[in-house]
Symmetry: C3
Subunit: 443 residues, 3 copies
């Protein structure tokens, strides 16, 4: 539960807000590289943290992200002509390069133009393109990009996309960090449980939603719906460790990474599986882009896997040409009440869309002043404390957690089945080795 | 004409408003029974007096109307699974019964869950299902349902539906209480009157819109466009008596019932005819649901009549699957100007849609500070005074008119043709007997 | 650049604003005559300067523009029946003539009606229909209509239409007065210029967009992108003279008329060509109607020309049945980036739609507090000063510039090619003679 003031601080990221100033200390994924497919291709409208921009790939293939307003008479540069290493305003031909420099004022005399140009530059973000993503930094002196493992992969070993989420960034992050809901939101239900419906408040017999080689873990998710959480802090964020009873006195661990300010590496994978990461980027305070990255450190992502990701699987939603999910707020996620009765718990297809639905359902901006938090919500409360602390640092003029430490972001998430004698320290070391988190602190 | 303050008081029914507190002292129709067709069917979103709810029919067939917000993390229970006598949140499986009790918290230990559940109940309205309608009461100790005659009918003798109105509840009620507009809004026009159009301000020769066995009354409506009103008060509201000249020195009476706070029984029927009643329920302050009831105390409503009602006739509009009229604000009620010229006065098909159009046309919330009220508007002014008085009672902590007197609502409305020697007392007694209104007061 | 206060003053035209009071001192085109095609045709909804009206053509063919609210109970007269020289409210039959007089109150006794009618009139604008347009004046004592040349033409020699613009009136006017953008916004580009795209900030080789008998002038527009402006004041507004280098030491002049408060006569025509004029009428502060007039003083407008105007050419946009452009804000004006690369500078078809796009792109209401104005923007700054001065006059209770001087509006615009020895005085006299502008002042 947060005070109304803290809830506001957490959720508002416009330029004149504390969290907005905090986000602007970190690199943000701005768009997918493939949205600007070739040099001099059409410019693209962007909204990032509530601010409008226009992105373009110039003649040399470099991407610029600039404010959209021509300083001459305020025409919008989205309509500009992308030509000869710059964007030219259609109204009177003023031209700007990808760094925002004004490089031509053709409707003035050469003398006047020379005098004016240095004063007529426009705001441009610092841009770096890596891992199929155009990354942007709002401030002056950008630190190196975080050393996410996925960024080091060759393109054959990764798959990257994005999807639009119709609610505030923070509640979507909270859904991403919350592994406890796997026992419900993503569960299947037996057709057979209808028979026991009259049995008072009895829970339906949930079943594992997926058939898979690792089928047992889905059963463990269903059988233990109140996992025990331990949260470990490290230099780039938090490792959230959730323990569930497995078979034969073993423990099934699902371990999630939260990386400041808006990244998560999901659990659900054993070492042989593909890894998954998300970044939630505020579009404005009432919606966000979710960037989704899949990679495998040891092998290529197959064509079959790419096809399945495109059709909506795991973190990836089925999206339209604008990366807006086909199942969304306006159509109640195409909820199918028969499916909810007999097949899965929500009646909504795909894990991504189930996450989306429940996050949206908390409101456009969730009210955190009325909540009943449990031990299973420990990851949520620690996320809030961590990012509000970073925000406090920025307000005090101090560099916030992780903002300039690229190596701290080289972490992994994932699952583990431990023996009764193994401590959490042993579990984390056995599963992640050097990828647990820089300077991770055990209780 | 009302002051701006009284107009605001009349029209706002949210939880923190005087009229909102007043409405919450009375039973409200919340939805049609058939919107929740069978046990454990899909839940339905509701908005009542500006507040959001979710309605569901549980495994035993009982209806619950509860606030939609799960107290755990604020997910919306509309997406919940309707199972085993309760609605289960899709996020983490918290479950609530139809009285709003929390009956399961599966993501906590049993001990924690037992301790939390009593404090985790949600708001639930008192619900009673009768006469094909789910009735709701907002407060704690609900009085008995009003004894509307239609509620006592077997289902073969009644037909019930609803329609959405895109304006404030009060101006829609005022349309329902205003029988004087029948001489204009619902009139037909002769094709032949085109010939006299150049004749200055002369009125067109109106004709009766309907052909019927009682055709004379339609002629009287047209011939006497300024009826004389007498308003009689009784324990549940008002009997509005409008007198028009008929043939041979007879008087044609149309007598409407207004029942607090938002019901009306319409005139237009003789004893052998079907009776009609409306309830206007604020959805929010800019729209309302109009519940429509037809019944006959002595015979079944035929299949033909049901078909006609469904197609839009009398009080019943032609509606889509969401009960929104096909002819509505966005499409100017499919007004046909040729029809307006040669067939009926508005160019809009169906009486219900004509009422709708003119009420909407007064604005989303009508401004009553600029009006020119006539003697024919007496019913309107008495309606306003009556409900504002009830509102005043509530503000003073007194039970408002009719709120706990179920028998006072057992009234009838209808038409009568009186002889010159008959007084109004005789007319009312002759037409209604014991159904005129409890403790009705004659001037 | 304007202060925020002046920008607000310039752009707001509602009834309680300084500019709104100023506009209401002048005649406004309200709708096209053909929108009310015959006596007693369907009424039409209007919004003018942020105020709502209903327009109707009465039985005698005269047009009325009246407030839409019936003074009885506030029903909207748009739904009224247009009959026998008046509009009759559908609710209770009150009737109003085109001057707003209440001419019938049928739901009162004759005595009451007689007493009420004189007090029940509604607001009506002063209306004059001329030149295929219904002109309206808001105030009491209307001056004569301005003596626009087009108004004196027989209907065969003119073509009139309108189009909807989705931004504030003033920035649309500024686009209309700005002939300097012709060197960019309306330019074509050679396919061949792709070859030179890597050449830094070099301008693309623009080409003339149109092939025409006067082809040279299009080349001059491209070759001289920084015309020299001289602005001359006269009794109805401004003559904006823009000089560009032509061939053989000649000068190519494009001369635009601005007429208070919201008219423009465009350049681009030599004496043998068709003349063009625009009026920008605020619908509200975020959109406007642009009335477009073409005429030829000496010959008929041919069927071919009319067809081309209807399809979108010059000032005329391709519009739908509601006069809303097919290419508009919501669809990014159907911008075609391949066309922008290889055919024309914007990738948007038609000059009118190019103007529209760039004006809309300045925002719903352009922010003029951040601009970098050049000598080529002199016309813009003088327009602002002129209309703000008129506004100042009104605030001081003085009749504003041109408001009552009908003959001052009899002006022409157009192009001229001058010899080196010709002064501006000689140019203006040679081109316009008595049509330069009443009491025009040379520097």
């Amino acid at each position: 539960m947060l005070s109304a003031a803290d809830n506001k601080k957490l959720t508002r990221t416009g330029p004149d807000t504390p969290m907005g100033r905090t986000f602007r200390k970190y690199w943000m994924p701005a768009l997918l590289s493939r949205e600007l497919p070739h040099p001099d291709c059409p410019p693209v409208r962007l909204k990032l943290l509530g601010e409008e921009f226009v992105a373009f790939r110039d003649t040399l293939g470099k991407v610029g992200i600039v404010e959209p307003r021509c300083p001459h008479r305020g025409a919008n540069l989205f309509f500009g002509r992308n030509e000869a290493c710059g964007l030219r305003c259609i109204y009177h031909g003023w031209k700007f390069d990808r760094q925002g420099n004004c490089v031509d004022i053709p409707n003035a005399t050469p003398e006047v133009a020379s005098r004016l140009m240095p004063r007529a530059s426009i705001q441009a973000l610092t841009v770096e393109e890596r891992g199929d993503v155009v990354w942007a930094f709002f401030g002056e002196s950008a630190p190196p990009l975080p050393d996410f493992e996925y960024l080091g992969m060759p393109s054959e070993q990764r798959f990257v996309s994005k999807k639009f989420q119709q609610c505030n960034w923070a509640q979507a992050v909270e859904g991403g960090l919350d592994t406890s809901h796997f026992s419900y939101l993503h569960a299947g239900v037996y057709d057979g449980e209808k028979a026991s419906l009259l049995d008072g408040g009895k829970r339906p017999t949930l079943r594992a939603a997926n058939e898979s080689p690792n089928h047992s873990r889905f059963r463990w998710l269903i059988e233990d719906g109140a996992p025990r959480f331990t949260v470990l802090e490290h230099d780039a964020g938090l490792l959230l460790c959730a323990a569930r009873s497995a078979d034969d006195d073993q423990t099934y661990w699902r371990m999630t990474q939260y990386l400041v300010p808006n990244h998560s590496l999901t659990p659900g994978n054993f070492p042989e599986d593909t890894s998954l990461m998300n970044t939630w980027v505020p579009y404005d305070d009432e919606s966000c882009w979710i960037f989704c990255y899949a990679w495998h450190p040891d092998r290529e992502i197959s064509d079959d896997e790419r096809t399945r990701y495109r059709e909506g699987r795991g973190l990836f939603a089925e999206v339209d040409d604008d990366f807006v999910p086909v199942r969304r707020r306006e159509n109640d996620y195409l909820i199918d009440r028969d499916m909810q009765r007999g097949t899965n718990y929500t009646g909504i297809a795909n894990i991504s869309e189930q996450d989306q639905a429940v996050a949206d359902s908390q409101g456009t901006i969730a009210d955190r002043t009325q909540e009943t938090l449990l031990q299973t919500d420990l990851g949520i409360t620690r996320f809030r404390a961590t990012i509000l602390n970073a925000c406090q640092s920025v307000e005090e003029g101090v560099q916030p957690k992780g903002a300039s430490d690229t190596s701290a972001f080289r972490v992994r998430s994932g699952d583990y089945v431990s023996e009764p004698h193994q401590s959490l320290v042993e579990v984390v070391h056995a599963r992640f080795g050097e990828f647990a988190g820089k300077n991770i602190v055990f209780p």
